[in-house]
Symmetry: C2
Subunit: 163 residues, 2 copies
């Protein structure tokens, strides 16, 4: 049996997966993108064990994808915000969502819709605005809205409730 000839040092996909290629990491990032920033809110929404969430958050902070900021002293409480490196992951999450909308969609329809900021057009699975035709490059150009398939636990609705 030959040894692995093409390892993580020389593949950008493997390099990316090394940092974010874990189910919880991407679900945590989904929630942060949708406006959930605090440990307890993330924990309740995801239903993940606290120690696993703590591990994954530390990993994402260590990788420079999230930044940890204190929002309260005594007791000290932290929130997690995306760095630019983290914001650059939006196309990964959008393409996963678009694929899921097409191939693993809940019966009620897309849980989340992406709206072209300013223009108001719907951004399709290929990141093209259906109204103005522009291709969307960055998360800064869009707003997420609950879609027809959104249910009460949807991160956008949870995020609204914590504001």
């Amino acid at each position: 049996m030959l040894k692995r000839t093409y390892d993580n040092q020389v593949c950008s996909i493997a390099g990316a997966l090394e940092l974010v290629g874990e189910r919880w990491s991407l679900l945590i990032l989904r929630d942060v993108f949708l406006g959930i920033h605090r440990f307890d809110d993330l924990q309740r929404g995801l239903g993940v064990a606290r120690n696993i969430l703590r591990d994954r958050l530390n990993l994402l902070v260590g990788a420079g994808v999230l930044e940890r900021r204190a929002y309260q002293q005594r007791p000290e409480r932290f929130e997690y915000v995306l760095t630019q490196k983290g914001r650059d992951l939006w196309p990964v999450l959008h393409s996963l969502m678009a694929w899921g909308d097409k191939h693993a969609q809940p019966p009620a329809g897309a849980p989340t819709l992406v709206e072209h900021r300013g223009c108001g057009g719907h951004v399709d699975g290929e990141r093209r605005c259906e109204k103005c035709g522009a291709f969307v490059i960055s998360v800064d150009e869009v707003t997420a809205r609950p879609g027809p398939g959104a249910v009460p636990g949807h991160p956008l609705l949870r995020a609204a409730a914590t504001r």
Copy 2:
């Protein structure tokens, strides 16, 4: 502690991750996209245990992402090809690669370059052709080429060697 309120049934990202959200699955798909189709070639290139590879391939076939085809009898041997559902995952892999090229790139540069088929232009991290300006929607519009950071074990070079 509240129960998880937003589970895999109602999130397209979670739904997608349910099917492909596992490190090996995405690395297997990377290799298949780059032209490696046979069990033994996948196994040698990835350095993954045979039982894990078998599990993941069965999962991807069961999910309708890959199709298994016999290419030899006695002993029977199979190769794995992408279905349309699998080919639709290309934007996920491309955006992971683009993010890795930017944030986790090997020192020698991008291991893989994406070329606009016909036009010959380089497709950038946003899936835009730098020559003609078109946005690339589908994997059918592109060809992958070894980049400056490609090393001998690169899947494209391995794929060429098995042809």
